[in-house]
């Protein structure tokens, strides 16, 4: 099991890389990216997710982000519209990352992969994609149609076409991820 310092460092790296890719890193962005990091890329962050209003959501991760704010490792970043309010890393979190070089080296490819895929996507899109991964994990081996229908059952505001596109995106991303996952095992 990962130690807290390792888990913290990886989350800070995820936030920094998402920002580099253009994300304003609201909690929803971090939640969805961390979900993919764990469920698709196999990074053992060990957060428990439930399907909530906006797709998979971890109350534990939410508490952890608050705890990081308490320890001055994360800070609010308030931006004018159309951006939402986000979180940013601090001097303290950058210092902490230097203490776990092996962990960072091992998981950085997975983090970069997720950040590249998610950095420019908005909240609505992330909801569809992360729900598609949730459904794919819930019903392994099911074809595209069945999974897309399941998404529309769970989230009636998502149309069938949108659901299908999200499932296709997840399937393609899973294929691409295989190379990254294989490369990071040392």
């Amino acid at each position: 099991m990962m130690k807290q310092i390792q888990r913290d460092g990886l989350l800070f790296e995820l936030i920094d890389e998402m920002k580099e890719q253009g994300s304003w890193c609201g909690e929803t962005h971090i939640q969805k990216a961390a979900y993919f990091l764990e469920e698709m890329m196999g990074v053992p962050l060990d957060f428990r997710y439930v399907l909530y209003k906006h797709g998979p959501f971890s109350f534990d991760l939410s508490d952890e982000l608050a705890s990081m704010r308490a320890d001055a490792l994360l800070a609010w970043e308030i931006k004018p519209e159309p951006y939402g309010d986000g979180l940013k890393t601090t001097k303290g979190s950058t210092q902490l990352q230097t203490k776990i070089p092996r962990t960072m080296a091992r998981y950085r490819p997975a983090i970069s992969f997720v950040a590249q895929k998610f950095g420019k996507r908005g909240v609505k899109e992330l909801e569809k994609i992360s729900t598609a991964l949730y459904v794919t994990k819930e019903m392994p081996g099911q074809d595209l149609t069945v999974r897309a229908r399941r998404i529309t059952e769970l989230k009636p505001h998502i149309s069938y076409d949108e659901a299908e596109k999200a499932v296709l995106f997840v399937d393609e991303m899973m294929e691409d991820a295989k190379t990254v996952i294989a490369g990071e095992v040392v």
């Binding site: 310092i5 939410s62 608050a66 704010r69 001055a72 939402g84 203490k99």
Partner: protein, 432 residues
Amino acid sequence: MVKKNNHEVRDPIYAFVHMDSDERQVLNSAPVQRLRHIHQLALTYLVYPGATHRRFEHSLGVMELATRIYTTVMENRCTDTLDINGGYDRNYYLRVLRMASLVHDIGHAPFSHASEDLFPAGWDHEVMTLSLIESEEMERLWKRLKIQAEDVAKLALGPKHYTKDIFTTTEAILSEIITGDTFGADRMDYLLRDSHHTGVAYGRFDHYRLIETLQVLPKRYEDESMEPALGVESGGIQSAEALLLARYFMFSQLYFHPIRRIYDIHLKEFLQAWLEGGYFPTDLDDHLSLTDNEVMSAIGKASRDPRLPGHEAAERIVKRNHYRVLYTRNPNDVLKNREAGLAISTAACAEFGEENIRHDRPKKSAGRVMFPVLELDGRIVSSLSRSDTLQHIPEVAADTVYINPDLLDVGRKWLEKNRKRVIESAVEEESE
């Protein structure tokens, strides 16, 4: 003769809590009546003498507040983002919400959160609450009220703890009315009630104004998202600030008070020694038979008899000879080592023996300061962009090391000499 169907209970916070005869049957059930004997704040009354209130009145208060929130939210009409359609039965869900509020705490073990860790693996007070909601006694009452146990459980526990089924958007919002981290009735009531009973005035806020301004609003400021959440009209922002400041002050002044916390630790030590196998029973009848009364009686006996299990912890509680604070969290230490308290505790255990040192690093739910605000011109904005105050409310954290009172002086000298070295040299290393 006409039989009275509406009943009221006097309450120090809301004046009256109302219910009808069928709801009173739930109030009179064994699981809810047991809450008369579970202190809301465990042994806090040893520090704040007024804190003798119980989960029973808190549960009534949550039912009253949840009702007011539900009524306001429905009257404010901003329910477009919910999956409420022609089939939505407003009165059915009001009934479910009220009953879920009334029973949301029935799974608590004696002394509430203080002893939560003593449930066996796979159990906690939420699992116990679910078992009781689904029990035969309660099923009979739900049937009489024409509501489903599953719906009551969902709203009482919320999506974090009810994992048998996925929540619809409406169910998620309804459970947020009870369990929500920002505007949940549970939180509002415990702040107001704990403040009232302890005399810690910081917990008060204008809940009347706050509730008047509550709305279900889509978080449009997040990429035009339609995800609904409980938010406020712009006129309610100050009362929302007051609520979140109240939470900050109550955690820093009361809930994380170091002496209150060490009494929780001594209480847990006593229970571990006293309970069969060191854990609470999970059989429903056994759970219902065990309250603070039985535990306090056992503590009294054990404190007088060194041969009884848990004698030392019991004596510390009764004679107020609790462990003393050796180290408390310091922001500068956190920057050097996030687990500074653990480092001090580990080193102190090596120096003075594990039996003489206790470490406490309580976890708490995130205080969500971000919620939607409805502006006068109809725009929906984030609370953080609207309020400088909310941006600057800190999260509360505690990290405390305690020492046996007999070793306090020598412990303090040791810490003064070794503090810097221990904190800086004990930074956690990465594992493989």
